[in-house]
Subunit: 415 residues, 2 copies
Amino acid sequence: MGNVIIGQSGGPTAVINSSLAGAISAAKKGGVPKIYGMHYGIEGFLKKDIIDIEDYLFDIDDLSILKRTPSAFLGSCRYKLPKIEGNEEVYATMFDTLDEYDIEYFMYIGGNDSMDTIKQLSDYAEAHGKKQKFMGIPKTIDNDLPITDHTPGFGSAAKFIATSMREIICDNESFGANDPKICVVEIMGRNAGWLTAASVLSRATDSTGPDLIYLPENPFDEKAFLERVEDLTKKKKSIVIAVSEGLKDAEGKLICEQNDDYAFVDAFGHRQLSGCGKILSNKIARTMGYKTRAIEFSLLQRCATHLASRVDIDEAYDVGYIACEAALAGETGKMVVINVTHREPYVVSYELADIHNIANIEKKMPNEWIINEGTFVSDEFVKYVKPLVVGSLTPYYAGGVPKHISLKNKRRHLN
Amino acid sequence: MGNVIIGQSGGPTAVINSSLAGAISAAKKGGVPKIYGMHYGIEGFLKKDIIDIEDYLFDIDDLSILKRTPSAFLGSCRYKLPKIEGNEEVYATMFDTLDEYDIEYFMYIGGNDSMDTIKQLSDYAEAHGKKQKFMGIPKTIDNDLPITDHTPGFGSAAKFIATSMREIICDNESFGANDPKICVVEIMGRNAGWLTAASVLSRATDSTGPDLIYLPENPFDEKAFLERVEDLTKKKKSIVIAVSEGLKDAEGKLICEQNDDYAFVDAFGHRQLSGCGKILSNKIARTMGYKTRAIEFSLLQRCATHLASRVDIDEAYDVGYIACEAALAGETGKMVVINVTHREPYVVSYELADIHNIANIEKKMPNEWIINEGTFVSDEFVKYVKPLVVGSLTPYYAGGVPKHISLKNKRRHLN
């Protein structure tokens, strides 16, 4: 039996390490001789930056703490492999490295860009009669992978957003005596509005929830937006608005690009966005003269493991476990998908899906779930998202602050 | 026996409602006939916007949920009473209102500006032979009240900052493969650096903690700052810096005022600051060409009750309870202060202090706790702050999101 290697890719989530813990557990259970980790994803692998995971996770509690550690324990990257055609030598070298470490099972935890890595490597293996198996493990707070009902990482980010949004609404309401107070909260999501939509979960008997929700799926009409805000100020003093970082106008131009300070392009060619909440809150302040505030959840929404959803952390673990188990059983070129058998009570099953139907494909919010002329989300969406944020996994606290594990946790030997 | 009135003032905290719950409990225990609330603080009181608290808190669990509800349940304000001299009619009217509602005990939960209200009202009562008793209940995330060892609200904000900072460091480290990645985190604190200093608590065996900590107590030297960052990039790839919103240069000019977009002056005449983290991260990006990110904790740091410190939530309750108990026993013109008898193990006692020694006075970080040429904080500070973030109080979850209570929770009657 050959060895296993696992890598993590793309933007971290609160539960990406839970998937790693799942894959490691399945490899241990399967009696795999060595469990390797790619240090900084496929980019590290290309440089043979490969670690023996059991040098770093050795105490009986380490896997439990790993499940509760945010961000990519192994290090991540945003690196897309070149096309096979014309780059055969790159692939030949990668397979030489796999053979050198006697690696037979290759697991990659990531989103739709990262799944391209699994697609290309499994295609190459098939075309060249290589024995290695390649499996994808879904991960993204953006919830934009196709086929799977939802993606690990999304539920915890949604729980953070719903909780923080409710706390912000409480705070914003506390000064409602005189003039309206308007707070614009900017939430991650370049092209898909799933996360911003999840802010609706802050609504309950004790909270109004956000007054308006704007997603990137619909063109953003600034004039209509300002009119809606003005209308709201006639009805209430505390107004909280959720906007997606990826809002675009009718011409497809990003709202946040109205201010050049905030543009940054990452290695996948995606613009790193931020600032559309600030831009819109400034516009409200300038046109209406009201007091406004912009809040950006920024990295907090993807790394708040202290507030992870139990459902999410468990599913993340499961997809990691099942991917490794399936690879050991001979599966390749596939990703584990979550199938929701019953929404309420919530029951899931897992399946394998062909990676060619997943890599590089983005799933957006269905049109029919976006209502009120693109300013809110439907009850069907609420039914969809609600079970994903349920439950907690208590952190291991040390001195009042959650304890994590990192690669600094190296097994010590006698000198 | 007369009635009680309670008000909340200034910026909300995660535990200001715990103090309210404490004061209500003491009033009930003392057999007070009616417990009134000022709707939106003293500003609401001046307009006779007064509510009967038991119309809104009637279920046996309501006080427990109130303890876990962020922000000011009664509504807050930023309103400073005019001086007594020359404004006697304002005070006479206020005492008429107190008499009208048969109010004998007046409790105000707030910071050093709000304690001025207690000072003036108790001075007026003494000068004019009024029977009413006035007690202050300390509250501020800024931890800048004198005499008391620390203030309720600070510990929970510190716990949020330490936890989120540790999660951010995890996230920032995950992409450390190539170029340095620099994250500047902006933390609240106009003149006192207590909260920014608390970011040091993210340091542990599993986390480096922030690399640099800049407080408003010391003048900010931009050249030296950029040199320190440049030096750090030679040693490590992931750099996280904590900066206080109130950083000022040697001339006393706020760093955040280098960008006019962000200036806003509140009703106390304080500038509402934000943006110094963004300004400094942009400077690093422009001078060194590295990838930077600015994160502002904004309102989240003062309203994250889901992550409140148990020590803080209990002390907030206690100071509220003791203030009301003391008023019923005839005390006036005082604020409850926390006295730490032993730091480790942590033991506190409560005392009353003359409001004249507290109102309008700001306590800053001691100079000797700011080390490394104003770029870090000392172990003595760590010893001071560590016990304040310990323990949690599990939220009441409903559907995966913490449940709160609001004035929408009105007792219903048969029609």
